[in-house]
Structure formats: C-alpha cells, structure tokens
Subunit: 483 residues, 2 copies
Amino acid sequence: MRTSSSSAVRRAAGLAAVVAAASAAALAAPPQPRRASLVVTGGTVITMDAERRILSPGAVAICGDSIAAVDTPAAIARRFVAADIVRADGAVVLPGLVNTHGHAPMVMYRGLADDLALMDWLQKYIFPAESKTVTPELVRVGTRLAALEMIQSGTTLHTDMYYFEEEVARATKAAGMRGVLAQTVIGFPAPDAKTPADGLARAKRFMEEFRGDPLIVATVAPHSMYTVDAESLKASRDLARTFGVPLVTHLAETDDEVRRSLEAHRLTPAAYLDSLGFWDTPALAAHGVHLTDDDIALLRRRGVALSHNPESNMKLASGAAPIVKCLRAGLAVGLGTDGAASNNDLDMFEAMRQAAFLHKLTDKDPTAASARTVLEMATIGGAAALGLADRIGSLEQGKRADLIVVSMRAPRQTPMYNPVSHLVYVTRGDDVRTTVVNGRILMRDRRMLTLNAPSVLADARRLAARVREAVEAAKPPQSSTAK
Amino acid sequence: MRTSSSSAVRRAAGLAAVVAAASAAALAAPPQPRRASLVVTGGTVITMDAERRILSPGAVAICGDSIAAVDTPAAIARRFVAADIVRADGAVVLPGLVNTHGHAPMVMYRGLADDLALMDWLQKYIFPAESKTVTPELVRVGTRLAALEMIQSGTTLHTDMYYFEEEVARATKAAGMRGVLAQTVIGFPAPDAKTPADGLARAKRFMEEFRGDPLIVATVAPHSMYTVDAESLKASRDLARTFGVPLVTHLAETDDEVRRSLEAHRLTPAAYLDSLGFWDTPALAAHGVHLTDDDIALLRRRGVALSHNPESNMKLASGAAPIVKCLRAGLAVGLGTDGAASNNDLDMFEAMRQAAFLHKLTDKDPTAASARTVLEMATIGGAAALGLADRIGSLEQGKRADLIVVSMRAPRQTPMYNPVSHLVYVTRGDDVRTTVVNGRILMRDRRMLTLNAPSVLADARRLAARVREAVEAAKPPQSSTAK
C-alpha cells in the first residue's frame, strides 16, 4: 500500500481490469453520463478495498447516500455529471474513521481530574459528577460537543455506551453522523434507571424508536461482567438478538477485573460470559487488555469482535491489549478513543498513532502495528467489528458514502513519500478539511454545516460550571488549620 | 498547579507578596511607567517559576530581549507603556518549549521508511539517503523546514546534532530561534568529515564562529560510545570544556548498544564513558533507555543531564527509559522529539502526551508522569538539562523573553477545568498562535514573520525528489519472474 504520485494508478492491482471493463462498455455503447449528487476529485484516494488500492490522483462519485464509482478523475468526469464538486488536490481522501468505543457525553468531564489512581478518579470526581449532573440536557449538550469534535477530526461513525441513550441518538442523527449506540444496563442505580430491569426496559424502547434508521444502530450495553448480574446479561443478549444488532460491553479492562472474576467464578471474564451463553449473538467487546491466549481463541470461535483503546489503556495504566495476537488469530479489531474523561480527546488520528507506538514498544518490534495495520483498524476493521463491513469502512461502489478529505500540505507533513505513513505518524484530526456521511457534507473546508459551533461550545461551558460545582461540593471540607 | 478562573491569582502562593511590594513602592513614589517593547496580556499565564504560579488572567511585559515583569494585566498596564500588545484572551501563555534532542535536517527523510526493523531502516533507507543527499544545501533547506514546523508548534529552542552544523546554526539564527547545536563527530566517513579528527576540526571552527552568540550555543556531539573511539571522545570533552558549553551524545538507546558495551568493555555505556573521564564536563545524554540503577546514580553524581525521547523510543521499539526513577534520583531531564526520520514530527505537545502515557503504562501507575511533570520537562526541566535555567525555561523577570501563546478554544479543549491538563492531553502544536524568542515575535496569530513558508516548502519538495531517487537507486534490482 505504498504509492508515489500518479504511477500508482497503473501499478494498482485490479484497477487495470476495472478501467478495461469500463472502456469495453464505452465501445459497446456511447456512455450516457449519470448524475452524481457529489464528486470528490483530485486527491490521493486511499480506498481500503480488498486490494487496498490507492489512486493518485483519484475521484469518488456519490449518488444520494451511496458511492457510485471510484476511479481516476478523468474517468469520473466522463461518466458523471456532478451537482456538486469537492476538490481534494494536495489532500488524501479516505473512508470516514470508525470509532468503536466511547461515551460521547463524557466530553463534559474531560480534564476534570487526571493523573489519579483509578479509585480516586472514579470516587472523588467521576461518580459525584455523574450522579449530580447526568441529565437528558447534559447528555444532549455533551453529545453535540462530541459530534462537533468528531466531525472536525474525521470520525463518521461513533460507538457509544451511556445513559439517556435516546438523547445521544437524536443529537448524533441531527449532526448527520452515523452511530452504533447502546443504552447502558448496570447493576446499581443509574441516572436514568434504578434497576437493571429499568435499564433493559429503556433499552427496548430505545431500540424500537430507532429500528431501521439509516444512520443509527440502536442496541444495548450491559456495562460489564462485574457490574451486571447473570440474568440481566442474558436478557441483554436476548434483546440484541431479537433486534438483530450487536451486543456491546466492556471486557477484561483491568487486572483487578480478571482477579475478581477468577475469585468469584474460577473463570476469566471472557470465559464466564461464555458460560452464560452471552457470546451466542454478535458482540463487540471493548478493551480486552488482559485477555489470555485461551480467551483470544474463545472469542475467535464465538466471532466476538474487539475494540482497542490504546490511549485510555495507557492513560489509566490499564495495560497493553494483545492486539497483534488478536489480529493474528483472526479477530475483527476496531480502534476506539474511549470517553473523553479518560483519553482526553476523541481524535482517531491520535488513536492510530498511539496504537502503532504502543505495540512496537510492548512487542519490542518496530514492524508491529504498522501504519497500514492501524489505518485498517480505524476504517474497514472497525466496520467489520461492528458487523457493518458490507456498508461502510472502504470506498467502493455500492457502499454508503462516508468519507473524509485530509490536507497533507502542512510543514510537518512535508515532504510526503508515503500518504499512509503520514496519516498515522504526522497527521492530526485538525487536518481534516471535509467530512461526508451517508452522502451528506457535514463539514466543508472546516465550515460546520449541521452544527452551530459557537452555540454548542457556549452550552457546554455553561453546563461545565454546574459540573465544577458538583465536584467541589463532593469534596470533604478542608480544615483551615494544619493538624 | 491547578486554577479556576481569576481567583487563582489570589490563591497563588507568593503572588500576594509581589503585589503588596509593588503597591508599597507605588505609595512611596508615584510610578513612572516604563516603556515595554511588547506586552502579552489577557491569557492564563503559566509561569513555571519556582512556585509554579499561574495567573489567570496574567500579563508579561518584555523590554528588548528580556522579561521585565509578570503580573496581573492591570498591574502591567499601570507599570508599562507598551510599544506593541499581543492579546491572549482565551489562551494560555507559557514559556517556549525546549526540545532537547533532534536532528533538524532529517525532516527531509520523514516517512521515507517506517515500520521496519532498525537495521533495514538504517541500511536500506537512511544511510543510502544520507550518503547521497546530505549537502550544505539539504542541511540548510531541511533546517528551515524544521524551524518552520518548530516555531509553528511552540518550540523556541532546539538541540541538534548533525553534519554541516554551521548551516543548521545559520538557518536557526535566521529564523530567530534559539539553538544548542552540536557538530557531529563519528568514527566512519561522514558527509562533512572523513575522519573523527576532521569532525573535531570542523567542530572547533564552528564553535569559534558562534562563540558568544545571543541565540546559538555551538558545541560538539561525539555520536555515541559505540561509534567513536576513546581518543576522539576525550578530545570532544576537552573541546566542550574549553568553550564552556555542554557536551552532547547519545547514550544507552538500545539493548544492543548495552550488550556490545558489556562485551567490549565489561562496563555499561555510561560506566565506560565514565572510565574515560567523559563526564568530567557538563553533558547532555540523549535517550538513556537502558540505564541501570547504578548508571542513574553515576549520572547523578557526575551531574549529567538526560534528554527523554518517548516517541522515537516507542516507534523504533527501543524501549521505555526509566524516567520516573531518573527524576526521583534528581537528574535534570528534558524532553525531545528526536529527528523526524524516527518520530515523525517535531511537535513537543505530542512528546509531552507520549511521555505521560508511556510512563503510566510501564510503571503501571496512572499518577506517574503527571501533566505537570511532563510540562516541567518540556520547559524548565529542558532548560536545566542544557545548563540554561538561569536564562530560559520559565516566565520570570530578568529571563530571556521566550514564550508562546496557545489557543484553548477548540471543541476538543472544551470545557476547560485545568489548563495544565489541557496543554498535555488535548492540545496540539497547531494550537500555538504566537511564538516569541528573545523578545522577537517569530509567528503572530499563525503568520510567520521570519520564514517564507511557501518557499521553504517548495525547496523541501524539490530536494525530496532527489532523496526519493537516491533511495530507489540503492535498492537491489527486482527480478521480474518469481524464483
């Protein structure tokens, strides 16, 4: 997957055949140009298709919500009359990035407390803040802020687990983003449900509301094997199976979770969930930091996909997930940022770089987690992990038109020998110029089209004052004299 | 070092006394406002002084090349008449970032070859590229490109080791940056010197040319203990001592280096250099990935400072330097990016985040390498490592005016509870708006004042074609039939 200027088109396996077929058709009957709602043309197109073709320059024609063709700019110009054109000269065009794990509204808690031991972080900051401030309004305002950040940094689909998930879904849809969104079920009183049964009922209503939605996959997320009872875990599985959507959960994030699982069940978390038949339906497990080789083989047999969150795992000192092993075993692995309270941003470019750095370090191998591998995880791999590889994750005729245009002209991106290396090692979310989801432009040359950025930021700052008060109030009063 | 809005001024230790003293002086005699060449006012000023004061809002008055005062905006407005004013509302003002290790011209090789085993990377790409393309022109063009990237991302001082170092120095000075720049001495034929003796002679001429320069500290860098003979190592030390500048070298970067040192000398690299008396003059060692506890104690006794390069060490799978131990032992530790061939950018904000993530992971401790600690390494710690803490590294009266203004208004930086956390965990080099070195504005609101960016980029792209050709020519001819 290496290219240098336009010669890549000729060298690209498979493309010659496509062009030849098109030419043959052209000879048989003079072509009638087809109307495209949008053409993106002139950049280096990294398709992430099965042959990993790179067209430099290339073009993508979009009709409605779908990709009608990926070809050379000249061929697309011959075949389509474009209602709208985005020029991508000097830029890279690639599939929209797929974030496979997050808690969007937690942007409201970003940077509230860092560099703390996990229990201090949770008990002194995150839990007090959540218990006092998680309302439908905070979820709505937080999701809008998260969507703004994600669209600006090239994420076109986010996977979410939180409370009041219908608010997350409405805000995601209004912003024009795609989402695999899961209502949380948890074994203690939550802001939106007193019991797991209440949570399950909420989840069912939520899944009914968004059934068949073109942008939203509504599902259920039992929080984890250590916070949800066996019956609720099974009921969650049944709900996901009934609706034909992937089940979402946290798995083996910390060594403490594994230790407690072994004590309580004499089984690892993955094996315990398997003993309940939890994996009998398509599922996405987040983290998997402390998976054993047997766990990996089990997840592979059960077809469970993994979301890898390198930044969160490093920042919270959870550890390094055995991702190279998981990929070698054939698991579908996507990348995620986790929530902004633990990362602290939602930039998938940072997640890619971090994944590459992390596994080279822990595997003591500079060839591990190559730029190509992590770009796969962030695009087609994530789509596969969510069971959506037939619809998104690559730029191919017939797939939904989710793509981004990324500038490659900054000094830190100069010179450019290899665009894939540059996407991972020197590019930031801020280099994304244009974001398209389902054929609709959400950001054009950095201008937001579906969100009013100043009002989103103002709302967030207003609610942040309430969060700060909640945390201050939860602190024990400080004595004015030393003891 | 935590603050929330303007109340931080009142809470900040030490500031009350300063204000009181100023008020007392004001009562004694009506103040005559002094002329300031530049005032930066209105932002949150993170001083990095001994008390780690944060003024929110604060202001910095600059007279010529030095800081005349750091105070509240109102106090600065009373005390100074400003010839020029930079508004920093909604931004953070902090000391310019100090990059303690790099090879600036190697930006010309960034992304040329990634994800390779070290020897493949060096022998198939970097060495052929360097042997055929390192000329004074490439060093000049590369340093300009590196300076552009560094000024844009808030670095005000870079530490360098390369060939034709006088070209690095001239380009650094012309860009207005500060540099601790070292002519390389190495034990095999280099692009600018056939022998170590030639390298030493070049170093001496270079150090004479820039002696006493207000921006450039010119010194010598024996490449490492495994590439330079004992006599040349000692001669380098003598040269640095004669000129009163810090000696610069690579140290214990890979386990292979340590193994070979133990085989050849029955001593670790640090101990072997000590046996030569190499550490008998102030020195800065880059990397220190594989330092033993005894090495750390030895470096502490000898007053050797360390440059930590987390991104390079991870990407090349060198390992994790024992930085928490080094800091605890009292070593002066600065941060560095290393050259762009191994990183692949020169963004110190990325280096800060990476340092925080890396040590939390490897120490299994989320409190390790806090945001405050890594910000110290990137500012006052780096200044101390270079023996320049009396002149730069913090915003204090009498120090040289090296500072940056960093925007904090992006969606990914919203809300902001703690500016220090945000600098490390959600800020990028691209958020830097204004960069000041030695009292001179090098970039103002993203507009470059000392470098012509389009011409720097065009020159770099032109030379990159030559680099690509050199690498292609060095590859063995590929057989057209499979064997």
